[in-house]
């Protein structure tokens, strides 16, 4: 059966060049980067190279990149690290209602520990209004954490504007850049973020590797203490193979970002236009907002998302409803709820996310099979009347 993968916001296939880079670590260059002998020093120099590739991708200094086990750890490190280091100054945190669970549940956990969190709403198109962040500021605010691009609907938040507000107020600013990195240009200097999370497996690298950009001078309490790795910010013997793969993926993402994403945007637009013309009663969530070039989230009336996902899967097409981690739960997505969708509407939503490796044939295949699937499910619905 033909297999088409349009679930790149969940994870991406690992590029062959990344696999090759990792293989050399797993076989020859197995040394512990902390060891002073050749094996160790070679591994260390490979990590230094990877750090440079990751730093360049977001215009950071090499010393500002802390490798982590992924996006979730980077988010936890940023938020808990500031909460802990700044608690003498205050206990108020500002975030949005559409954050990934890694931020959402971390902030909820801090609420239980006595921190106060302001949850900024978003527009019907899924965008935070920067001025509402300004209005939420208090003398005891210690952190603003707002994601750069949303994983479910792909909307891009006004990070640069919020960055200016944070700088004026002298409040630490973290942004979850897991979905934006590798898909749009990211420049941490321009964005004026102090902390920025990245994950390797969303940019064709391996799972279990990621990084937190920590602006020079930022005081952050480590999550992991031990041998003092990563300049005392994150102890533990490095996941060398993962980091090397991540570095290679970052290098490739940077080299071809502009051309890859122009092509991806064209395919995404082709997909959206074709589906809108071939299927009645569908809407694109976040359509009028600035969006990632690779993501489309469509709401299909008179059909249910999980039924669509399973039907597509049986035709070899992988997509998702809401975010991958909440599939299997029947609660409507908090992101779709935040943009004003009813639980019913939210349950009829479908996320299709492309990557640099998506082909025109992939998209054309989905355009060919999806209308029939929707039609079949609608014919089963007691509410759908053919016009």
């Amino acid at each position: 059966m033909r297999r088409v993968y349009l679930d790149s916001n969940a994870t991406t296939p690992v590029r062959p060049e990344v696999v090759a880079a990792m293989m050399s670590v797993l076989t020859e260059h197995f040394g512990n980067p902390s060891s002073i002998h050749w094996f160790g020093q070679h591994a260390k120099s490979m990590i230094d190279d990877a750090r440079q590739h990751v730093a360049r991708l977001i215009n950071a200094e090499v010393s500002e990149i802390v490798f982590t086990s992924g996006g979730t750890e980077a988010d936890n490190f940023a938020i808990r690290g500031i909460a802990e280091s700044q608690k003498a100054k205050g206990r108020h945190i500002i975030t949005s209602k559409i954050e990934h669970h890694a931020v959402l549940h971390t902030c909820q956990d801090l609420e239980k520990q006595g921190y106060e969190v302001t949850w900024i709403p978003v527009s019907r198109d899924g965008v935070v209004d920067a001025s509402s962040v300004r209005r939420a500021l208090r003398p005891d605010t210690i952190l603003i954490t707002i994601m750069h691009a949303n994983n479910e609907i792909g909307t891009v938040q006004p990070i640069e504007e919020i960055g200016r507000i944070a700088e004026e107020a002298d409040v630490y600013f973290h942004s979850d850049g897991v979905q934006s990195t590798g898909k749009i240009q990211v420049d941490v200097r321009k964005l004026k973020v102090d902390l920025y999370s990245i994950s390797s497996h969303k940019i064709h690298g391996p799972k279990g590797a990621g990084a937190l950009f920590v602006r020079k001078g930022t005081i952050l309490k480590p999550l992991l203490t031990g041998g003092g790795h990563e300049r005392n910010r994150r102890s533990g013997t490095e996941n060398v193979a993962g980091i090397i793969g991540f570095g290679q993926a970052a290098k490739m993402a940077r080299e071809s970002l502009t051309s890859d994403m122009a092509r991806v945007a064209e395919l995404r637009d082709l997909l959206e236009t074709a589906l809108k013309s071939r299927i009645e009663f569908i809407q694109v969530n976040g359509e009028n907002a600035p969006r990632l070039p690779n993501t489309t989230n469509i709401m299909v009336d008179y059909a249910e998302g999980e039924g669509l996902v399973i039907s597509l899967d049986l035709k070899g097409v992988a997509v998702s409803t809401g975010s991958a981690c909440s599939s299997g739960s029947m609660e409507p997505s908090h992101v779709l709820t935040a943009i004003g969708k009813t639980p019913d509407e939210a349950h009829g939503s479908l996320r299709l996310s492309l990557s640099a490796l998506t082909t025109r044939e992939d998209v054309e295949y989905v355009i060919e099979v999806l209308p029939g699937i929707v039609e079949r499910l609608r014919d089963l619905s007691p509410y759908y009347k053919k016009v």
Partner: protein
């Protein structure tokens, strides 16, 4: 795939889909959490269910269990139909993942509601 072949078959090729214009009873139920709906039509003859049809807007498990349960009803004694449980349906379809057990409740709720119209004599 988290579902059995049989369940997928009932999802892909649901039996007993449709409406019965001259139905003796109709029930419409929905799951308050996920919003999925099932509508069930039955025609009875003496103590038996002569015909049953359904429509559903829901996940694959909801559609498959609704279809399977409706098919079970056809020809069944009303008193036996009252005894149908969600476990019976789920087991017959090769079991459901834990998070999907509630989907089969849609069918048993619809059966309960539609049979409410026929008091035991």
């Amino acid at each position: 795939m988290a579902y059995s072949e049989k369940l997928l078959d009932y999802f892909q090729n649901p039996r007993c889909v449709g409406e019965i214009p001259e139905a003796d009873a109709v029930a419409e139920v929905s799951n308050p959490v996920c919003g999925d709906v099932m509508k069930l039509w039955v025609k009875v003859d003496g103590g038996h269910i002569q015909d049953a049809k359904f429509k559903a807007q829901g996940c694959s498990a909801a559609i498959a269990t609704s279809s399977f349960a409706t098919e079970m009803l056809v020809g069944m004694e009303i008193e036996r139909a009252r005894l149908i449980t969600k476990e019976e349906i789920a087991e017959a379809l090769g079991g459901l993942p834990a998070s999907k057990i509630h989907c089969s409740v849609l069918a048993t709720d619809a059966i309960k509601q539609v049979l409410r119209e026929f008091q035991p004599r």
